[in-house]
């Protein structure tokens, strides 16, 4: 058997067989071009989400209400940056450079989680992001620890380990508010009202309408469907809201004993599509912020290169 002479059909068959056998695909393995493209799209989108996600939370680092909260929030936002790095790192194993990824983000060719296009208006939003947004992200990421592409799966394992603190600190913030003054409780409820539906949208369109879902499930890039994951998130979050004495803004939310799950009301997909299309409250701000930081850093990155080049030249002269 000579592998280098295998036909495309044979390569594809072996590729799928490996996936079906729950083996991971590694960077040097043969893979269909569409699999590679899907991964680049999904992992980079995930990376951009982490990095853009630094902004809405970073918005409150300077104003955090206590020194402990400030340190926790900064560490958390730094972690998001770190997760972005792990994921860029996984994307780069597919032969795409960091500059290309950043350029695609700036030009709007690459997406990031739409949830980060909503503004953080009060301190309670920091709690809501940790509790709901990170909570939803974790449900998705736990599932992705078994994704078929090795570097992505390993990145997810690292990220999941670190994320659990994020959700806990968020819930702690919300719980403190919910047990505080009337004003604080109202602040927490307002945050829940604004972040609940966007959090449900994070799981993406219903399975029937999801453009990439079927193929991604066959390739085991996705391990569970959007709707399954969304249901899981709702089921685990409702009791947490009840415990905090907060009301989830969905009059149709009801325990369904027959299904063993909560039923919930319809998602406003028009709103979802509007924000995905770039017309949310903060879409422009988020990209402008990232672009500005990148452009302001250009002279620094150039200086680093020039300095190294000069050092190399000097070393070469000394050797001569």
């Amino acid at each position: 058997m000579n592998d280098s002479n295998a036909s495309p059909e044979e390569l594809l068959r072996r590729f799928q067989a490996r996936i079906d056998a729950e083996q991971r695909i590694e960077p040097k393995d043969w893979m269909p071009e569409a699999y590679r493209r899907t991964l680049v799209r999904q992992i980079s989108q995930h990376a951009h989400s982490e990095v853009i996600g630094m902004q809405p939370e970073g918005n409150w680092i300077l104003r955090a209400p206590s020194l402990r909260r400030k340190a926790v929030l900064l560490a958390k936002v730094q972690d998001e940056g770190g997760h972005g790095l792990y994921l860029y790192s996984a994307t780069e194993t597919l032969g795409v450079s960091r500059e290309e990824l950043v350029e695609a983000l700036h030009e709007g060719r690459a997406k990031y989680a739409s949830i980060f296009n909503y503004p953080t208006l009060t301190w309670a939003d920091i709690g809501a992001i940790g509790w709901l947004v990170d909570g939803a992200a974790i449900v998705n990421q736990i599932s992705l620890q078994r994704t078929s592409y090795g570097p992505y799966a390993r990145g997810m394992v690292r990220i999941c380990k670190e994320e659990s603190f994020h959700q806990r600190q968020g819930y702690e913030v919300i719980l403190t508010l919910a047990r505080g003054s009337a004003e604080q409780k109202a602040m927490a409820q307002d945050a829940l009202d604004r972040w609940w539906w966007p959090s449900l949208m994070m799981f993406g369109p219903h399975d029937a309408e999801s453009a990439h879902s079927a193929q991604s499930m066959t390739w085991k890039i996705k391990r569970q469907s959007n709707d399954e994951l969304r249901q899981k998130f709702v089921d685990q979050t409702v009791p947490q809201a009840e415990f905090a004495g907060l009301v989830i803004p969905d009059p149709q939310l009801l325990w369904n004993a027959e299904r063993g799950h909560y039923d919930f009301g319809p998602i406003d997909w028009e709103e979802f599509n509007r924000v995905v299309a770039g017309n949310g409250m903060c879409n422009r701000d988020r990209i402008a912020h990232h672009r500005r930081a990148h452009e302001e850093g250009e002279w620094v990155r150039e200086a680093v290169r020039a300095h190294e080049e000069r050092k190399r030249e000097r070393a070469a002269q000394d050797a001569a």
């Binding site: 058997m1 000579n2 592998d3 280098s4 040097k28 393995d29 043969w30 560490a75 730094q78 972690d79 770190g82 790095l85 792990y86 790192s89 996984a90 780069e92 450079s97 960091r98 500059e99 990145g155 690292r158 670190e162 250009e298 990155r301 150039e302 680093v304 290169r305 020039a306 300095h307 190294e308 080049e309």
Partner: protein, 96 residues
């Protein structure tokens, strides 16, 4: 120097505890090995995950090729006598 081109890629390996091997954890961009080490400390050991870090330029890694996998690794498959499970111990000797 190509304008706009990012710094080179480095692979990061971390020994989490004395007595364990260094393990690959990911990559990062830096201009030099020294800078890569420092960023590895800042980016990959935020929870004191390491007692020792290696960084290697990604381009310097020589990897076996998938196309070679057959002739490279398959010949090792037919030597079961290299594995302890190949040998049946009498029940009287329950562990070795």
């Amino acid at each position: 120097m190509v304008p706009g081109q990012h710094m080179p890629l480095f692979e990061v390996f971390i020994r989490s505890r004395r007595g364990l091997d260094h393990k690959h954890v990911g990559s990062l961009h830096a201009e030099t090995h020294q800078q890569a080490l420092e960023y590895a400390r800042d980016c990959y050991t935020r929870r004191s995950e390491g007692v020792s870090i290696w960084v290697v330029r990604s381009g310097d890694i020589v990897a076996s090729q998938e196309e070679d996998a057959g002739e490279f690794f398959d010949p090792m498959d037919d030597k079961p006598y290299r594995h302890a499970t190949h040998y049946r111990l009498p029940p009287e000797v329950d562990n070795m």
